[in-house]
Amino acid sequence: MDWVALLIKILVIAVLVPVSAMITGFAFLKILAHMQSRLGPMEAGRFHGWAQLLADGLKFIQKEDIIPTNADRWVFALAPGVVLMSVVLVFITIPFSPVLEVVNLDSQIFVFLAVSSIGAIGVLMAGWSSANKYSLIGGFRAAGQLIAYELPLVLAVVGVVMQAGTMSLQGIVSAQSQFELFGTGIVVPYFVPQILGFVIFIVACQAELAQAPFDMPFAESELVSGFATEYSGFRYLFFFMAEFASNFALAAIAATLFLGGYWIPFVSPEMLKYIGPFVLAVKIALLVFIFLWLRSTYPRLREDQLQRFAWMYLIPLSLVNIALTGVFKVVTV
């Protein structure tokens, strides 16, 4: 029966990735619109344009698949798949409830950090193979940015791992369900003791997602569309889907690490099996809103400002966070 379980898992993830991308994408359209005093899509599907992204997806599939003459054909064709695959692999590391999960590894958070970096290779492939100066600059900017912000992301996770004493995401969630603030008996998730790490993680996620204020890889006013400039049709759709699905996935990981994941207080572990996914969904929605809120508020940084911000502020801060967590851990034990 193992292969049946595997098949179901594959099906669920294959459905969850596009659906979550569509929901996040629609939230993006609507939240950004309302923050700019607009309404966003209102026509497709009659009710507040709910079918806008379905229509967009159909449109992308119908479009011609253009590969530039000078492009490195195979690399060009594979790049969107690599980017999307990275996101799919991030999805398999998310625990949705004590029992609902694709894999359960002792070093699950490590797997997440490893697979989320694969996207950088896809982006670099896309930028390199497009035979276009904008794509090349965009690809290099994206690669530089993903490398620079991977470090604070990892270091922020290290704080959580030290606090929980485990690298398993299930372990981190159960550690949060038992964490008492200064022995007062008040159980709080890790965003309270790890507030610095939480802020660093959110900022680094924003950069990993290449969203404003860290959207230099796309930089539509200067680089047309960065590494996605030459893409059209369903290959562009892959980038589009990867962008919003990774938004969802990173929010899920951030919710698991800092907001207690599928866990809420005053609910028995037996009940969590059933309401866990919904609890996680609410937390993801909250974090996705924060991502989009930051995106719609801040203007784009310059490339040198971005690198300086990562290397001179975020990374030292996250090292300070690790040191503080260590001291905290030793003092309280």
């Binding site: 939240i31 619109a33 309302h34 923050m35 700019q36 005093s37 607009r38 309404l39 209102m42 809120w293 930051l294 719609s296 508020t297 801040y298 310059r302 040198d304 400002q305 300086r308 911000f309 001179m312 502020y313 030292p316």
Partner: protein, 195 residues
């Protein structure tokens, strides 16, 4: 922390930025620094502005379903009050992109007084404005000596083809009927008696 570091180092204009008065304790902290309190405060102000905008009603209307009433003095389109036109051609000659086409002829009319010469009147045959060319400067409205041209707030006259934007005097007359009514004369002044 790295207070001396300045994010704006690369920008030549950064040094000349005015130092905002946010406390004398930040003398070592340049305004360009990301750790400057004014900057940190600005980040949260920005978040508050976008959140407030999101929670308030959006400023747009769903155009084909809901229509805004334009301001009565809005410069939507130029209408023609045909009986005022004397075919003087001033508007056509002043038009910067020559989008007004006027044709007319002269007719004799019986004299106004017994035994006088017959009067000569100009009759308007054609008055077209090509709205594909018009740039809505309103010079024609200003130069018209007999107030035959008026601004109307009408705005829904898009066409499928560019050549369909040439509108004749009947259409211009329809638009003239939507022009705002002139305000009443002040008390004490009298209206010129029509001849």
């Amino acid at each position: 922390m790295t207070q001396a570091q300045d994010l704006e180092q690369g920008a030549p204009g950064a040094e000349s930025e005015p130092h905002e008065g946010t406390g004398a304790s930040n003398k070592t902290l340049k305004y360009g620094s990301p750790a400057h309190p004014a900057r940190i405060k600005g980040l949260f102000t920005g978040l508050w502005v976008t959140l407030r905008t999101m929670l308030s009603r959006s400023q747009v209307v769903q155009y084909p379903h809901v229509k805004e009433t334009p301001h009565p003095r809005a410069r939507g389109v130029i209408g023609l009050q045909e009986e005022n036109c004397t075919v003087c051609m001033l508007c056509a000659r002043e038009c910067p992109d020559w989008c007004i086409y006027i044709e007319g002829h002269q007719e004799k009319r019986p004299p106004r007084h017994e035994g006088g010469k017959p009067r000569q009147v100009n009759i308007l045959n054609r008055f077209d404005i090509d709205y594909a060319l018009c740039m809505y400067c309103g010079i024609c409205v200003d130069v018209c000596p007999f107030d035959a041209l008026h601004w109307s707030p009408e705005y829904e006259y898009s066409e499928l083809g560019i050549s369909d934007l040439l509108h004749d005097k009947d259409r211009l007359g329809e638009w003239d009927s939507t022009k705002p009514k002139l305000p009443a004369y002040e008390a004490g002044s009298t209206m010129k008696a029509p001849k």
